[in-house]
């Protein structure tokens, strides 16, 4: 017999919860493996990045627990304010003195000693808004006009992030937005009307900024410019190759000795691939796949349409970003600065992603042991609406 928890809900999907914690914990270890040398050289403390990540992990776990106890109704009210807050924060990035630049892009806000990346928050702001917007009147998604406010809100956030500039997060946000619209049950025809211009926009955006074109050609033949645009990709490929099937062993990466840039953040997967080999990569993605599977399962079993949309959005954001990162690291698409969520160093991303996972876990807690729960069909385009 399962006893209900103190707040009147069940234990929920403990496996999902445990898998997320396991992955984030593994991330802390990997951050140490990838950054120890750099940290020693730059800060004189080989644990520098690992300690920061550990703090993020603890805070993230706390956020996860906390958010799992926040009732969905409370989150539902946050939709519009979260969207507005996201927009405001994204605008603040451009305020001189507040915005912090790095590597030629202004993507951070510095508050005292803390740096936050508003685009990470904006992703969840948009998810909250979309879920709330559709759940309020499910009929909206039947017409293009009803979907328009979602497109508008997403478009504004996308443009703001694009101005930083940060194409990869923009693409991520756009993909989440479109994914949620489809999962809400939009008709095929309407979906195409939205999708085509967006797809057409991608090449235009790449052509708009010369550095993106350079990256694109470097991606096609990295050895044409091994010291400039091709460098990152080459170094990532070296790391992967050095890993072979079973890897060189944890903490034994050769590429972490400053050859691989951003080895603890955007390219942490390269180090993991080098140290644990292809088998290690398979196991890692088995765990990630498990989290995704349980996450979407939670969404599908959710009793409310709002919960379904919210969980879908969060899992979608997680899955899309994970896939994009892996595609970059393995050289399937041109390099863009995108962390591997839950694993890469970077506290904003870690805490926010874990908080999001907390929300999903919270949704699972409201489902009891799952018997008799409603099953949403997650397929090509949405589900039949019950709310």
């Amino acid at each position: 017999m399962k006893r209900p928890a103190a707040d009147g809900r069940g234990k929920g999907d403990l496996l999902f919860f445990a898998a997320v914690l396991l992955l984030a914990g593994y991330g802390v270890v990997c951050v140490y493996a990838a950054s120890s040398y750099n940290a020693q050289v730059q800060y004189g403390d080989s644990f520098y990045f690992m300690k920061k990540q550990l703090i993020g992990f603890v805070l993230g776990a706390a956020a996860m627990l906390l958010l799992s106890r926040v009732p969905l109704s409370a989150l539902r009210r946050l939709g519009v304010p979260a969207l507005l807050l996201s927009a405001v924060l994204l605008v603040l990035v451009f305020v001189p003195g507040l915005g912090k630049s790095n590597y030629g892009a202004t993507r951070w806000i510095g508050l005292g000693g803390v740096t936050i990346q508003p685009s990470e928050l904006a992703k969840y702001g948009l998810i909250l808004f979309i879920a709330g917007y559709f759940a309020a009147r499910p009929a909206r998604m039947r017409s293009l006009l009803g979907v328009l406010p979602v497109l508008l809100a997403g478009g504004v956030l996308c443009v703001l992030i694009l101005l930083e500039p940060n194409l990869s997060v923009t693409m991520c946000l756009g993909a989440v937005m479109l994914g949620m619209i489809f999962l809400s049950g939009l008709s095929w025809r309407a979906a195409l009307v939205i999708l085509l211009p967006v797809v057409a926009l991608v090449p235009a955006l790449i052509l708009a900024a010369p550095y993106r074109l350079k990256r694109l050609s470097a991606f096609l033949d990295p050895w044409a410019s091994p010291r400039e645009e091709g460098y990152q990709l080459i170094q990532s490929l070296y790391a992967l190759a050095n890993g072979d099937l079973f890897g060189v062993g944890l903490f034994n990466s050769r590429q972490k000795y400053r050859f691989l840039p951003f080895s603890e953040s955007d390219f942490i997967l390269s180090v993991i691939a080098e140290e644990t080999g292809f088998v290690g990569v398979l196991l890692l993605f088995a765990l990630i796949g498990f989290i995704l599977w349980r996450g979407f399962r939670i969404a599908a079993r959710c009793k409310t349409f709002y919960g379904y949309m919210l969980a879908c959005g969060i899992m979608l954001a997680y899955g899309v970003q994970t896939a994009l990162n892996a595609l970059v690291v393995s050289g399937c698409i041109p390099p863009t600065g995108l962390p591997l969520p839950l694993v890469s160093a970077g506290n904003t991303s870690l805490i926010v992603t874990m908080a999001g996972m907390g929300v999903v876990y919270g949704i699972s807690r409201g489902q009891g042991n799952g018997k008799g729960a409603p099953r949403h069909k997650i397929q090509r385009h949405g589900l039949s609406v019950r709310d």
Partner: protein
């Protein structure tokens, strides 16, 4: 939507598999290059000895000190220490220690060991030193064109240092370090050491005592006659191994004048091997040899040793006239046999021989004696001389070749031709190499005594040699005479041409001599370029040969032959 995510997962996982397993080898091979840095371990260059084991070229251990700016921790402190230890100012040292444009910067080359050790002992991070070679020539300028010099004690640039470089150089090893991106060695990694293979030692046929003797004699002659240059080659007529090769002016191999390339090129050129000149009368040895051999073979066009040549001073050939250097007045050069013609160095007699033998026969001998082609000595940059082609040669040219004009030869070519004419008719490839050995003395390569061809018969050779002995005993070679040692030889005085016309007052005086006449052991060809005052070979060059032979007799303690 789930399908889309699953598809993406399969896509990149397939890609991971491809990169990590299939593409792996190529990529890791490329990556290895960036993971290590190499410091060369310089091989000890082989030494050069003379035929008696006397060291002619050796090494002094020297050290290069270099810095890796990326590994330097305290540049200012390091610069202070370096400026105290090396001939560098503080500013220069600091600039080098902070130059990040290259991974490695040389601070000093060929420093002494104690300096390098003091730097290493001072413990400045990022500064390394490695041994390199400083070439040392104990005899300074001795045989400088023959030995040649190296670039920074490593690669032979001229002379035998260059010719035998592949043996002398050895093979550099290296110390391989595991480093990070900027070249800092990784903690806990050792260095793998590939030892260098030292070069092989080269022993020459040169005898440094004879070389020194000949250089001294020739230097005196050069000074006495204020000559533009002098050369001398001394070789063993029995196998054409070279005892000495002199070419003055010379330079000190330990202080190669590298500043002026033109000067260096002219000083380091071994003219004995590389430059041809018009030999004049010394060439009559070859003409005489051809005649005697043909006579013994029964060729009716050849002159018998008892034949009396016309006493006239001039010969008319091709409508032009060729005159003897002597005026033939008062019974001079009259009723001469071949022997007397050699004694007097009478040009018309040798015109008669060349024309009588004819182009075809005479050219057979020029060919056999090795004219118009290189001797094949173990030395780079040998000249082939100039010989008109058999098809193009006219009567007048043939007549002149008979007494050593209208042909250009290197001193080495002429010495070899004469040696084969008097040693029984054996022509060998001349050589400077006696043998090559490992540093422990074990043999590696033996210099070969290679017979190329026969030139004349033993009998012809003996007859010629007795005539040439007469030249020294009674004729123009008197100044080379040494009582009891049976010196033989032939003088030569050639007028120099400049831009195709005879340069007035410019001569090459020469003497080709050897001893003993019945079994030649030492043969020398002496040339004095543009002597001032006297210019006859008999006066200028023959005494040099005598002095050299006297010196050899003393050195080798040779008793008289009669």
């Amino acid at each position: 939507m789930i399908m889309a995510i699953a598809f993406l997962f399969c896509l990149f996982l397939g890609r991971f598999l491809y990169v990590q397993v299939i593409w792996r080898e190529t990529l890791v091979y490329r990556a290895l290059d960036q993971w290590t840095r190499e410091v060369p371990v310089i091989a000890q260059r082989g030494r050069i000895f003379d035929r008696n084991g006397e060291l002619l070229a050796g090494n002094v251990a020297a050290y290069s000190v270099f810095a890796r700016a990326n590994a330097v921790q305290d540049a200012e402190d390091g610069a202070r220490l370096l400026s105290a230890l090396l001939p560098l100012s503080y500013e220069e040292a600091l600039a080098k220690l902070t130059d990040h444009s290259r991974s490695e910067i040389t601070l000093i080359k060929q420093a002494e060991k104690c300096v390098a050790e003091r730097i290493a002992g001072s413990g400045i991070a990022g500064i390394y030193y490695a041994r390199d070679n400083l070439r040392f020539y104990p005899y300074g300028a001795l045989a400088c064109q023959v030995l040649g010099f190296t670039a920074e004690g490593q690669a032979g640039v001229t002379g035998l240092e260059r010719y035998y470089d592949s043996y002398l150089a050895g093979e550099a090893g290296e110390i391989v370090y595991e480093t990070d991106l900027v070249g800092v060695q990784l903690e806990g990694t050792g260095a793998s050491y590939l030892p260098a293979t030292d070069g092989l030692d080269v022993t020459l046929t040169i005898d440094s005592r004879i070389q020194a003797l000949a250089e001294r004699v020739m230097a005196d002659a050069m000074q006495q006659y204020n000559a533009a240059g002098v050369t001398c080659v001394v070789l063993d007529p029995q196998d054409f191994s070279v005892y000495a090769m002199v070419d003055l002016p010379s330079y000190d191999l330990n202080e190669v004048p590298r500043d002026d390339l033109d000067v260096l090129n002219s000083l380091s050129r071994n003219t004995v091997v590389s430059d041809a000149y018009e030999p004049g009368s010394t060439f009559k040895i070859v003409t005489a040899a051809a005649n005697i051999e043909e006579y013994l073979r029964g060729n009716e066009r050849a002159f018998s040793p008892t034949h009396i040549f016309s006493s006239a001073r001039t010969r008319t050939v091709d409508g032009g006239s060729i005159r003897c250097w002597s005026d033939h007045a008062n019974g001079k050069h009259s009723n001469q046999t071949l022997s007397m013609a050699l004694n007097n160095s009478c040009n018309p007699c040798f015109v008669d021989i060349a024309l009588s033998l004819g182009t075809q026969t005479f050219y057979d001998y020029l060919e056999a004696f090795g004219f118009g082609k290189v001797t094949g000595i173990d030395f780079s940059g040998e000249a082939a001389g100039m010989l008109l082609s058999e098809l193009a040669v006219r009567e007048g040219d043939l007549a002149r070749i008979g007494f050593g004009q209208a042909i250009a030869v290197t001193p080495l070519q002429l010495a070899c031709a004469a040696a084969s004419a008097v040693n029984g008719g054996y022509y060998y490839t001349p050589r400077l190499l006696d043998h090559i050995s490992f540093s422990d003395g074990a043999p590696a390569v033996q210099g070969e005594n290679a017979l190329v061809r026969r030139t004349v018969s033993e009998e012809a050779s003996q007859l010629l040699s007795s005539m040439l002995e007469g030249v020294v005993a009674n004729g123009s070679g008197k100044n080379a005479y040494i009582e009891g040692y049976r010196v033989a030889g032939k003088t030569g005085t050639a007028q120099k041409y400049e831009n195709g016309v005879i340069a007035q007052g410019k001569y090459v005086s020469s003497f080709l001599g050897y001893f003993p006449a019945h079994d030649p052991k030492y043969l020398a060809l002496v040339t004095v370029d543009e002597p001032q005052g006297a210019y006859y070979g008999s006066v200028v060059a023959a005494p040099c040969a005598r002095e050299i032979f006297e010196g050899i007799i003393e050195l080798m303690d040779i008793p008289p032959y009669v």
